[in-house]
């Protein structure tokens, strides 16, 4: 009923406007010189506002953006991003200027004559070839980097970890001493075997199931992703890493952590961002926030999609070994 009320108000407003137009003179439809002059000026005002906003946000919003990449592979991502951003930034600033400045400069006047200028092969050649050349560079660097991150086979002895998704939680499984994951399938899900690991597979025995990721710094991690229900996406923004988890297949991705969580907390960008966040949290009376790496779900997966996360902790290799030594293997857990 309330909705009807809102709609009625809307209709009433419409009817009153309609009535008002009865007495108003609804004239004026084609731009004259006065309009051209006014709108030309507006174009300049708008351009100034647009430029001010662009410059202001590019500077002011730096602090909220992700800090530098925390993985070795991510460094090139950041490089490529910076190069691309400078290029498109320059083009953006030039083009917007031309668009709105020309609108102002060439605003119509009764006695003015437009230039009859229909074609110039030279100009067209220039702006076909220039973008093409720039793109060759971007494509080249991009493809090199793409091969770099997607290639996980050549690496010596990567640490194999399975990331497992379901509505609305993440689990992870370390491959254990043999560094080989046991087979898994939804048909094996039963009781505490929530990841559906085949316990008849000898590779499964030493696997370790956890709810938080611990990663050793400086060692390549080979992630395998599975999902038990719908599509999810394992998004680890700080490492510039993301891969979909697809029911019925295993997807893969790899990276090498570059900074431990502790080191990252000392990063100036992280400190600045954390300070900003904590200022806001303090005003709201919430606990202070401390930086942690996170894995987020980034593929729409249902009601609690917005809160599907897993903490990632990066530590030194010996600390990692100590930690993993303390975890119970699947054989131990499931037999109990």
């Amino acid at each position: 009923m309330l909705a009807l009320f809102y709609i009625l108000i809307f209709v009433a407003v419409g009817v009153s406007i309609w009535q008002i137009t009865r007495i108003l003179n609804f004239r004026g439809s084609i731009a004259n010189d006065k309009d051209n002059a006014a709108q030309g000026k507006n174009a300049i005002y708008f351009m100034v506002i647009l430029y001010a906003t662009m410059i202001y946000t590019l500077i002011a919003m730096n602090v909220i953006m992700l800090p530098e990449a925390a993985s070795l592979e991510g460094e090139h991502d950041d490089n490529l991003f910076n190069i691309t951003f400078w290029i498109i930034g320059i083009v953006q600033f030039i083009m917007q200027f031309l668009i709105f400045y020309f609108t102002f400069k060439y605003k119509g006047e009764k006695d003015k004559k437009a230039k009859f200028y229909a074609d110039s092969h030279k100009l067209e050649l220039i702006w076909t070839v220039t973008p093409a050349l720039v793109l060759v560079v971007l494509i080249g660097y991009g493809l090199w980097q793409w091969n770099n991150v997607m290639d996980i086979s050549a690496e010596e002895e990567p640490l194999v970890i399975e990331v497992y998704s379901q509505q609305f939680r993440w689990d992870a499984r370390y491959a254990g001493a043999d560094n080989t994951l046991g087979l898994g399938n939804v048909n094996f899900i039963k009781g505490i075997n929530t990841m559906g690991v085949d316990m008849d597979d000898k590779n499964s025995q030493d696997d370790i199931q956890v709810t938080e990721l611990y990663l050793p710094k400086g060692r390549k991690i080979h992630f395998k992703f599975r999902s038990q229900d719908v599509l999810h996406s394992a998004y680890m923004p700080h490492f510039r890493a993301q891969m979909n988890c697809v029911p019925g297949m295993v997807t893969e991705f790899g990276f090498t952590p570059k900074y431990t969580t502790e080191e990252m907390r000392q990063n100036p960008e992280v400190i600045a961002k954390t300070r900003g966040i904590n200022k806001i949290r303090k005003e709201k009376g919430e606990d202070p926030y401390e930086f942690d790496y996170l894995l987020l779900c980034n593929k729409i997966c249902g009601a609690s999609h917005y809160n599907m996360q897993m903490k990632i902790t990066v530590v030194e290799e010996d600390e990692f070994n100590e930690w993993i030594g303390k975890q119970a293997t699947l054989a131990e857990v499931i037999k109990q």
Partner: protein
């Protein structure tokens, strides 16, 4: 089309009309109604994003069972973004834009009495109407409308256990889309046949206005790619209702293992994006076509590089069918495919850049008549550049890894295809309103509408780039679950404020539109002093468009400000005025341009 007079009743004139001009108005009005629904939904979920814990009576009023105390549920949030996307992409910017202007302009600008098949044209509209009705009905089913995102990726869209909207709501969505695709295909075939066969004498393909080129190529892309979406939807219907496993495999949900074996969601993604990406250009190309026409007319200059413009439309159309994989870099498909799609995707930047540069050059040294339509076209070029440039970031697979499905993507596609296409549509409405309704729209309201819209469009979507670079995923009901996004809360408030103002600004347009239909200034035959053929028809609509013989075409559409001495910008106009109708014969010794 027929010469003999047949009596028109109310039903044949206004409802089951076969006249392309009436059908175009029907498309426009239906598209506008759907647009109001789609934009209103975005206002509701923007309220949620800015003030996630706040109670709103408007949410209480419109979301009924899907809210408690004026706070929406996560399920209905997802439903709102899903239906907002579906409605805006398909119902407003495909049917509303293409349907309106292809129907209105193709026969008028090529010199035909009507579409090749008036009957099929009528069917096309009524199928569109039917699919709109189904989509609207789906909003009222008990478990809520489809809510798996407008891309409806299975298994989420296939399993009601996964999300309530995948029950009856999803069924209605699929039925609605299947009918929609039928409508679009019939319409597109009609456009193609009409352009090929019904051009008047002298209207060579190389003399077609760029609007027609855009509509024509758009129709071809539609015919090539829409059937693939239809098959994707049919297979999904099979999976949902008949137990097949095209997209599903190895699923454990709600405590049991489902029977599905051997399917793959990645197959769906391929099929979906084989339409989904060309769809972007189905939306955008007509807007660019309209812009070409409006900019040239109002700059009183020929469009710069006509051949390059046609060539780039064709290049974009061709490339658009081989880039769909850039939506799937991280879907789990073979990385080698990722390389190929990166390459083809970034190539699209070249024809797009050519178009943008050509528009700017057309403005250069023009005599710009800054009518509302012209401002919207200029605005289109601006948002097309802003949004298009970030495509270079997203199209690069190595960079996409980190910003895929974040707000960076939301900012990119809203600017480059959402706002740009809407601007194209507005430009078209302001420009051809006199042709549709025989009256003019008010310019002052048009100016207010334009400036408020472009300011708020940038205000909404520009900050979203930075939220994306902060790592914020899209389709999150609220960002409060992550302390790391706490510093984005203020930006969300800013964005929502702009969105609400922008939404309200559209009321100015609606008022202007409906009031002008009845009270607008009476239009003259050629109010914008344009070259194209539609302005040679009488203001009053008549069946068959031209009272007598269809005029013959003697030149291209862009002889604006043609001078006696081509090398002297200040010499007299060759034809006495700064425009030359396409139907004007060449003077003796006049070089065709």
């Amino acid at each position: 089309m027929s010469e003999h007079h047949h009596k028109e009743t109310f039903v044949t004139k206004y409802i089951f009309s076969q006249d392309h001009k009436m059908i175009s108005k029907q498309f426009l009005i239906t598209g506008m109604i759907m647009g109001i629904i789609g934009v209103f939904m975005s206002m509701l979920f923007r309220l949620q994003l800015a003030w996630p814990e706040k109670s709103f009576t408007i949410i209480e009023a419109f979301l009924g069972p899907h809210q408690s105390d004026g706070i929406m549920s996560p399920d209905i949030y997802l439903a709102l973004v899903t239906i907002h996307g579906t409605i805006m992409v398909f119902f407003v910017l495909t049917a509303g834009l293409s349907g309106t202007f292809s129907n209105l302009l193709i026969p008028l600008q090529i010199g035909a009495r009507d579409m090749a098949s008036g009957f099929l044209n009528m069917i096309s509209y009524w199928l569109f109407f039917l699919s709109s009705v189904f989509m609207v009905i789906s909003l009222f089913v008990e478990a809520g409308p489809a809510s798996a995102g407008w891309t409806i990726y299975p298994p989420l869209s296939a399993l009601p256990q996964a999300i309530p909207g995948s029950g009856a709501g999803m069924t209605l969505w699929l039925v609605s889309m299947a009918i929609f695709i039928a409508s679009s295909l019939i319409g597109s075939l009609n456009y193609i046949v009409t352009v090929f066969n019904l051009r008047t004498k002298g209207m060579k393909m190389t003399r077609l206005p760029l609007t027609i080129w855009a509509f024509f190529i758009t129709a071809i892309i539609g015919v090539v790619s829409f059937p693939v979406l239809l098959s994707a939807a049919l297979l999904l219907i099979f999976d949902r209702s008949f137990g097949t496993s095209f997209y599903l495999s190895d699923i454990f949900i709600a405590g049991e293992v489902l029977h599905y074996q051997g399917g793959s969601p990645v197959l769906f993604e391929h099929l979906f994006w084989f339409l989904g990406h060309p769809e972007v250009y189905i939306i955008l190309l007509p807007a660019l076509g309209i812009t070409s026409e409006v900019i040239s007319t109002n700059a009183r200059k020929p469009i710069f590089g006509y051949r390059a413009m046609v060539g780039s439309i064709m290049a974009i159309a061709f490339l658009s069918t081989i880039v769909w994989g850039h939506h799937m870099f991280i879907s789990g498909m073979n990385p080698f495919l990722g390389s190929v799609f990166t390459f083809t995707t970034l190539l699209i930047a070249i024809p797009s850049a050519v178009k943008a540069f050509n528009y700017v050059t057309t403005l250069w040294k023009g005599n710009l008549q800054l009518n509302p339509a012209m401002l919207f076209s200029i605005g289109l070029v601006s948002t097309f550049v802003t949004g298009g440039l970030t495509g270079i970031v997203l199209g690069d697979s190595a960079l996409d890894i980190n910003i895929h499905d974040t707000y960076f993507v939301v900012a990119h596609f809203h600017l480059v295809m959402g706002v740009s296409a809407l601007f194209g549509m507005f430009a078209g409405i302001y420009h051809w309103f006199p042709k549709m309704y025989g009256r003019m729209m008010n310019k002052s309201m048009g100016y207010w509408h334009f400036w408020l819209t472009i300011i708020t469009a940038y205000g909404v979507f520009w900050p979203m780039h930075f939220m994306g670079l902060a790592g914020l995923p899209r389709r999150y009901y609220t960002n409060t679950a992550f302390p790391m996004f706490d510093d984005l809360a203020d930006i969300n408030v800013v964005i929502t404020t702009f969105a609400l103002i922008g939404g309200a600004a559209q009321l100015i347009f609606l008022a202007n539109f409906f009031i002008s239909i009845y009270r607008g200034e009476k239009a003259t035959q050629n109010p914008w002093r344009s070259n194209t053929m539609e302005w040679t028809t009488p203001v009053e609509h008549i069946h068959g468009n031209w009272p007598g013989k269809i005029p013959e075409v003697h030149r291209w559409a862009y002889d604006y400000s043609k001078k006696v001495d081509p090398n002297d910008d200040n010499s007299d106009y060759l034809h006495g005025e700064d425009f030359v109708l396409q139907t004007t014969p060449l003077l003796e010794g006049e070089e065709p341009s």
